[in-house]
């Protein structure tokens, strides 16, 4: 096992990884930007190294600084968390070259799955259902027009290098096609420095259901059930739950097997997530695979009893999976609400600032993953998530009640948060009935 692991991330996920390392008896190195001098992860790790100024590109995305921090502290492995460098194949490759274990999949897997069009092609070949769309990137408006007619409007134009909902355009008819492709390309270029876009069929009222997988370096792949992440705002997940309220044992098996197939198709190891869209007839389509730990991983941890972060480290340490597929049983129900420092009344504008007072809910089945503390000043430079509130109970109904109370008890003073908004969601009768799709927030909230 590693003696020392560097965590190339910040916020609650850095804290989560430090905690997992502690449990495994591994020393930890935190890296931080000048804006994060007082951040929790920098305080609680065994060592903390400043890797640059506040801007992400100069610090948390600064490969050279991070590798140097590894070198001077003697860390043998790097856990990238999510976001930042977590899905950067070049970074993983650099680690490899430097003899540092990248706690994640191989650079080749990242490469293949990071290119949405290439990933889709691979999945289709492997027999994983995919959404009808362009084979690879759109090369000309003419081809796109023919293809769109073939698969039928509405269609979506997506950035190949995209993620987090950026660079996605919907096209309702042929007259919009050209302008939307141009807009998508522009956006893709701005966000991802790559203007490659592809086209796919737009699924009406789909649910976003993803399957967690776990694979070792010896070809063993397991799926750990699903997470329903349909509660999204502008393609950003807001609330996640496991199991999905629409899931059947049969569908889970089918999706799970497809996910395993997908992972095997790209020689995947470590944990990963295959995102599917599920239509109202329970047809599911591969969307993309995330080659990292997910924000919403705790809901799976709670219903399976498996620590995914610790598993990541063990897999990176060349250990075999400790479970067989038949041993994976989903028990109970877990819900996660992302608590963001943002103001729902002002268009969810981020609200960085000082947390004057903080009360975190507790009790059985209530888990809070957070890097926030009373007096902490949330810097404006990074994302606005300040905590993940996760509840676990025997039934979905019980979990909803628990979440309602836990949210009610969650007090953050000094900054605006989306707690009330989350409460509104969990109190919504459609949510209570489990009847919601990815457009729910868009349709019910301005």
């Amino acid at each position: 096992m590693f003696n020392k692991v560097l965590i190339a991330n910040r916020g609650e996920i850095a804290v989560r990884i430090i905690r997992a390392c502690r449990e495994l008896g591994i020393k930890t190195v935190a890296v931080y930007s000048t804006a994060d001098k007082n951040a929790l992860h920098a305080q609680i790790a065994d060592e903390a190294i400043c890797i640059g100024p506040a801007q992400s590109k100069d610090s948390y995305l600064n490969v050279k600084s991070i590798i140097s921090a590894c070198e001077i502290t003697g860390a043998e492995a790097i856990h990238p968390g999510f976001g930042f460098l977590s899905e950067n194949a070049n970074f993983a490759r650099t680690c490899e070259k430097c003899g540092i274990t990248f706690i994640g999949p191989s650079p080749d897997s990242i490469d293949m799955l990071g290119d949405k069009a290439k990933a889709k092609e691979t999945m289709e070949k492997a027999g994983v259902p995919v959404i009808k769309g362009s084979k690879g990137v759109i090369t000309s408006i003419e081809d796109a027009t023919i293809l769109a007619e073939e698969i039928g409007y509405p269609v979506l134009i997506k950035a190949s290098a995209g993620g987090g909902g950026r660079g996605i355009r919907m096209v309702n008819n042929a007259s919009e096609l050209e302008s939307q492709i141009i807009a998508a390309k522009q956006e893709a270029k701005n966000f991802f420095s790559d203007d490659a876009v592809y086209m796919e069929k737009f699924i009406i009222k789909p649910r976003h259901i993803e399957v967690q997988i776990m694979a070792d370096k010896f070809g063993n792949v397991l799926h750990l059930g699903e997470r329903d992440c349909s509660m999204q705002r502008r393609n950003q997940k807001v609330l996640e739950e496991s199991p999905s309220p629409i899931m059947t044992e049969k569908l889970r098996k089918k999706m799970g097997e497809a996910a395993v197939k997908a992972a095997k198709a790209c020689n995947y190891y470590n944990v990963g997530t295959i995102e599917f869209l599920v239509d109202s007839s329970n047809n599911f389509y591969f969307m993309e695979m995330n080659t990292r730990i997910q924000v919403e991983h705790p809901v799976t941890e709670l219903v399976t009893g498996i620590d995914l972060v610790k598993s990541q480290i063990k897999i990176a340490d060349n250990q075999k999976l400790e479970y067989k597929q038949s041993e994976i049983k989903l028990k109970g129900h877990a819900i996660e609400c992302r608590i963001n420092a943002e103001c729902p009344q002002k268009g969810f504008r981020p609200c960085p600032g000082k947390i004057q007072a903080l009360h975190i809910p507790g009790g059985p089945g209530v888990r809070v993953d957070s890097a926030a503390y009373q007096g902490y000043v949330i810097p404006p430079n990074y994302d606005s998530m300040i905590a993940k509130l996760i509840v676990y109970a025997n039934s979905r109904q019980e979990a909803i009640m628990k979440m309602k109370w836990a949210l009610s008890e969650f007090i953050v003073d000094g900054i605006d948060t989306n707690i009330e908004f989350q409460l509104d969601l969990v109190k919504n009768s459609s949510f209570e009935k489990g009847e919601y799709d990815i457009a729910f927030i868009q349709n019910n909230y301005k």
């Binding site: 004057q356 007072a357 009360h359 309602k404 009610s408 007090i411 003073d413 009330e420 409460l423």
Partner: protein, 290 residues
Amino acid sequence: MLEDLFKLVKTRFNDSDSKIETDIKTKIPENIMFKCPRCRHVVFEEEYMKNNRVCLACNYHGRLSAKERLELTIDKNSFIEYDSEMISKNPICFPNYDKKQQELREQTDLKDAVITGEAYIRKIKAIIAIMDSRYMMASMGSVVGEKLTRAFERATEQRLPIIVFTASGGARMQEGIVSLMQMAKTSGAIAKHNEAGLLYITVLTDPTTGGVTASFASLGDIIIAEPKILVGFAGRRVIEGTIKQRLPDDFQLAEFMLEKGFIDMIVERKRMRSKVSHLLKLHGYTAVEN
């Protein structure tokens, strides 16, 4: 700072327009707790009962049934009851009076608001009368007056001391003028007992008021009261309304009455038996050996 914010928690959880359910479904039996009418302390009924119905916080001496009082006062199995079957008529045809009495008889196992008889207190023979406030607040009607009068007459006849434990809301309005007449009748019998040179002890218990205070309760040679009990004629509110003045807080409490000279001593319930027997002894009544 957080203290103020916690107010938010419940309003968040309950939708702001929903009211807290006030339909109380849990039924706590009424006899679990006792709330002291003097100090407002709430104690478990069981503890209060174990303490012979004396408030553990303020020493208020609560109301006992006649039977409980008897057990605390006299020698075991020494009571011979007089006139146990005596019941009243409905002299002024007061509506529902008979029905109410019938119900109370079933509830309390009493025929009316007083029991009388002879008994031994630490082996000294005496006549004893005990009023029971559970029966129409021990109001004095024809039966109460008659039973007491007969008890005094027997005491006079047998040259025995008499101890009356009073408790009453006053004259019984359901019997109208007949109940008022009981004041004079009992007072007459007491006068004869007194003329015979015999000892009459009254023990005022909670509450002793109205016509009873104005007659036999105040005629004892020795007037004892239990602590913190209510003793008076007219009620506090009536007096305040009449004289347009606020009365002191302890007005009509035993301690107030002692200070003003209306009663001779305050004796705690646990010492009552020994105090009464001692007084009997001091007045020349002697114990008999069985």
